[in-house]
Amino acid sequence: MGNKKITIEPVTRVEGHGKVTILLDEENKVKQARLHIVEFRGFERFIQGRPYWEVPVAVQRLCGICPVSHHLAAAKAMDYVIGAEKLTPTAEKVRRLMHYGQTFQSHALHFFHLCSPDILFGFDADPAIRNVVGVIKEHPDLAVQGVMMRKYGQEVIKITSGKKIHGTGAIPGGVNKSLNIEERDFLLKDIDQMITWSEGALKIAKDYTVDNLEMLAPFGSFDSNHLSLIREDGAMDLYHGNIRCIDKDGKKLMEQVNYQNYLEHIVEEVRPWSYMKFPFMKNMGTEDGWYRVGPLARVNACDFIDTPLAEAARKEFMAVTDGKPNNITMAYHWARMIETLHSAEKMKELLNDPDIMGDDLMVKGEFRGEGVGLIEAPRGTLFHHYKVNENDEVTMCNLIVSTTHNNVAMNTAVTKIAEEYISGVPEVTEGLLNRVEVGIRAYDPCLSCATHAMGKMPLKIKIVGADGATVDEKATF
């Protein structure tokens, strides 16, 4: 007895539902700190029986912030299922354009709409102004940039998939449309502005990290492994590649692993206090085998970036840790802005490639009945795995989403920050609790992505009117 519990609920300025519990002993020392993921969906089970071609459109409803990632990961898995993973140049490039547009908008959203209030106003700022509205009022030019960058990414998605959210562009074996010249010119007209603004955002993130390094370096930080897809020549590639995992010093733990064989290497542990599982590398075990994914892991894991401005930025980033992997949690923001710039450069490259206006959209192949699709989603490596029977029905679906891979990392950050800032203090202020959330936000978690299961509760639902009176009652079963 004598334990006190602090609950942060809900965690705000992140996507989805999560809460933090911090247990304190009699001396207000932190005994335990946990991030609980409290959402449930059931995709892996209820997608069974659906036709395979429906899957890329259905599963993106896991997440409205990065639907394109699920759309494309599912499409890539289904390419493999139907034996058509060698796409036409037009199909691959249109999909890539969609994906870079998605990464661009998602990173801009996270940086400007969700996280910039912590950076611009400070962790202890009044929560009433510590949000995007505060940014609009205090830093209108910056806010408009953020809004317009996100808008640009959304326009790219709309043009490649028909809708800004939950589009239909990718289909097993290819895409259902390419760009016409008007669409291409519409996007090309603003791309240089996007590159310039990305450089500006990168500078904000870099200066913030470098100027505050003394405070930020230990903030929720810890050594870890880093996992990412990597191109065959070691370049960063957000759309396709093989798996690489490095340890805290850069030693390769997995190198150029074909992701069709991911089950030989990665499993997910179930723990009773979270609906989100805890992945780790099989051969290293639960204690040592976990890793981080996402912008920090990708910048750490790649040998180089194949666009000049982002590569220059990567070199500056790596110089801070003398070329060794950067293990600073808050460096995620800087790494994320390097990728934002990289995405803008990639979009420009693709928009200047006539293949995106080609009309050879589809290939066919020999039906395999099983396939794995991986992609580097904005938040990290996303795994989709399906089996399909001879009636075209899905019989098995396994999803390991980006945020799930960061489960141990986020919990470690939460524990570190709670121990550093909350342990033993006489009064736990809102600003101190916000620090815990700042640590979680660095990972840009997408909590509704990360939960696919559900429990059971017989509950009687009361239908309540606006005045609080019961309108109707019904049992749920």
Partner: protein, 181 residues
């Protein structure tokens, strides 16, 4: 006169409807002149601090937390809007309504190909909200005043409805803004 207050919640949704709100793009500059945000995932206001004129609800109810959250919104908002297909009719998450729950938990925590669960223990911590055996649209839990269909409703649809309600005009959406997808 003080500005009307706007609150938003995402229940059993995917956040796509909240993204559609942000797709109003630079009209957000007008919106913040028109309203003050209260409880919302985009702010750090975790409990209602004032009565709100409009509450936008994304997603249906799949667990007890969703239900309590929705009760709370009904209590604190004059007008409640079901935003999108999940709030309106359960949407994709309601695909699970035809499947026994145990099959779903078993798939996720016991039978999935990458599951490592040597003890066979399921997530059951008291901190985790218990789940409803079905996903319910919002109007089966509280009285909802408006429904905006779409997966998600477009930013133009949301903008037209919201600005009408906040300026005491009649909500009169043209045909092309009503989409069920």
């Amino acid at each position: 006169m003080s500005k009307p207050k706007l609150a938003t919640a995402s229940l059993a949704g995917c956040f796509g409807c909240h993204m559609a709100i942000l797709d109003i793009d630079d009209r957000i500059l007008q919106l913040v002149d028109l309203i003050d945000f209260n409880k919302s995932p985009v702010t750090d206001i975790k409990t209602f601090t004032e009565r709100c004129t409009v509450g936008l609800i994304e997603g249906g109810c799949c667990n007890e937390e969703n239900v309590h959250n929705l009760y709370d919104f009904r209590k604190n908002c004059d007008i409640l809007i079901s935003l999108g297909d999940c709030a309106t009719m359960g949407g994709i998450p309601a695909l699970r309504n035809t499947i026994p729950l145990k099959e779903c938990t078993d798939e996720a925590y016991l039978n999935g190909p990458s599951v490592y669960n040597p003890t066979g223990k399921m997530p059951d911590d008291p901190e985790l909200p218990l789940l409803l055996n079905k996903v319910f649209p919002c109007h089966e839990v509280v009285k909802m005043d408006y429904h905006l269909p779409g997966c998600p409703p477009s930013a133009d649809t949301i903008w037209a409805a919201l600005t009408a309600l906040l300026t005491n005009e009649e909500v009169n959406l043209p045909y092309e803004l009503i989409k069920y997808d």
